[in-house]
Subunit: 219 residues, 4 copies
DNA sequence: GATGAATGAGTATTCATTCAT
DNA sequence: CATGAATGAATACTCATTCAT
């Protein structure tokens, strides 16, 4: 049982971010590099990686296209950085969210909620890039990013496997995780929390319910 | 109640296909145009639309790049044709599958099964293109294709709404359809029926179960 | 003793050229490719390989820069082709000149005369490129061209070694060949036969004399 | 007749160098400028002027590329300085070598020996630059450097003309000098005195012999 | 219909040079 | 003097599209 106020976030997003910046694992959003990565994520999501030119990227941060290459050696390196930093940040956020939860059911709820937040919140553009621009990454870069994804995915499998062992989950943890990946990342194409309607917590509840894991669900 | 043999498909895929070919709604797979669209779907899925050159497309069907333009006015028209014909075929197939089913629950099962088949079977490459290359389509073409998707989607909503009215479904039909869209299309990235393991029917069962709609489920 | 008229060339340059063209070893000078290589040789000699742009090359043959790449995959391939075809042609010409001569002394004279002709005649620009743009060739291409040069050089060493064995030559054949290479290729920077003065045959005589191998020389 | 020890150099290379440094005609090799010019000569010879970047140059002397421009206004000025200082130094060395010799035959021998030393010794890299990077120099700079070369060349022509008048040389002094220029500068591509074999003095002897000017040669 | 050479606008990347700190 | 981020013009190369044959 924790003593934090009920409606404060279980984990401080900013604290995590600053700790990652200090360790040079993600760029400071206020630095030239950080601003570029944010604009790149937006452009890559909106137009696609191939249709975004380095001139577009440069214009978005107000520099000349040649100057980009002081920060990144190639255009692809920008794509990779968007993906790597996004995974690093979201892995850290999820880990903290999970650790703050007491039961496995609550841990899973924290993961779902955090993933919905990562997809539909600040890092949403970058998450969409991660899903839709994967093939634009060279194979060596794909391998690098996959290693980071493995860490991220192991958080999910750990919790789902525990729930399976508890008997709370009937289906195969791997299959469930994959269905969730698809269902949750697809929300980026339709879910608009800012338009009112379903809140993010409400959506999380619906997903838990679909899995037969809502609080009231005695199944 | 139908009198077809138990292991024959409820609807004859080939019959539907030939009827669509006769109406000039999809290309004969043995024609030059049909072969090109099949190869285009494969290449667009494997390399992405932008990274596939018209030379690649021409080489895949054994002609010169200039000759492509006797069949299609632009490269984008090829992408559009892949999408349009795929939706037309799958809409027809699903409509038939749905009509062959008696109850709403069976209709939904037929839709899920048919969508899994379209994603992981013969039209899988084209379905992946539909999901991942959407932004490569010009806005006017997107509008055209969207009209066709609306027909396709209305099939789903019709059944889900009926189930909701029956009380068999608790969640919002729109939300459920969208979650299903994500979960099912994502199977293209991981599900390999040919490797043994989970069969397509088994997967369909799991999805029905997740929705609390399996036969034995009295909920 | 041969029966050809005294002032006809011992070997027919055009016959050799056409035979090489027929074997696809050098390009027809009237073809698009042949014209490009001739202009490339001129530009590379005048401005250097690096300072010659593909736009310069294209302009010189009256096409757009993009069209160059229908004939050659890279700019470097053009440089290589200039070198390879030049060596092939000159090797064939020298072999014929040598074979038409009776004594070793006459063979050497034929080689010197032919090399002066190749440096100061039609292929002069390409020969200058061979000397001065060597480092602009990638290492793999250098290796390819070196193999061809070895054939060319072996013609010289064969004759010089025979002269050494005859006692007509005192110095080391390798050293003599290298001094000759330098002295003869340097003529490209100063020798202008068209301005009158020393004729090419006169220059050949002077070189033979320097080697103590003039006809009258009983040494 | 001179009184210096038999195996001491006829002229003191260091004395000449220091006198030129004092007059600000060449840079002190230990100064920042001198070190840069030495590295530039090496890089220009190895990679060519165009393919050597100012970053390469800066890195070779351990500074940042922007700092180069405190020493030289442009990259081309570096190339010019390499050439100018090399000619100045070698002209002074040859003049001294020539003046230390008594007969014209000995003077010529001294020139050949000194040029071989300049090509294959300490200034070899810069001499190669002088030959192979000539066209990278702008025309105004070429004119400046040509004036210095004229002084250098006049030393040779003076001696060769005297030998011609003595009857010791049959061929045209201009032709002989040009053949020698080619033959001697080409040694940079093949002659490796450090590998044993032919010594520099031995090579000088061979060249004198080729000209029919060896001591024993009574011709 | 098919060809394949040509187009020309577009792309990522390079690099000498500048200049505020 | 030194730095290093920024510039901006230039570069080789790509590729969908055209069209005479």
């Amino acid at each position: 049982m924790s003593f934090r106020p009920l409606d404060a976030p279980a984990v401080n997003h900013d604290t995590i971010l600053h700790s990652l910046i200090a360790d040079n694992l993600v760029s400071d959003p206020d630095s030239a590099r950080g601003r570029l990565l944010r604009e790149a994520a937006r452009l890559f999501r909106d137009k696609g990686y191939e249709r975004t030119t380095v001139r577009d990227l440069a214009a978005a941060v107000g520099i000349q296209s040649g100057s980009l290459f002081h920060h990144f050696r190639t255009k692809e390196e920008i794509l990779k950085a968007v993906m790597v930093e996004t995974i690093r940040l979201n892995t850290a956020v999820m880990q903290a969210a999970m650790e703050a939860a007491d039961t496995n059911r609550e841990k899973l709820r924290a993961l779902i909620s955090a993933e919905l937040e990562s997809i539909n919140g600040q890092t949403g553009e970058a998450m969409a890039v991660l899903v839709f621009e994967w093939r634009s990454l060279s194979e060596p870069s794909q391998a690098e990013v996959l290693k980071l994804r493995d860490i991220y995915e192991s958080l999910w499998l750990e919790v789902l496997t525990a729930l399976k062992e508890e008997g709370a989950l009937v289906a195969d943890p791997f299959v469930v995780r994959r269905m969730l990946t698809g269902a949750l990342s697809w929300t980026v194409t339709w879910y608009r929390p800012e338009r009112g309607g379903l809140s993010q917590e409400g959506l999380t509840d619906q997903v838990m319910a679909m899995l037969g894991l809502s609080k009231a669900d005695s199944r």
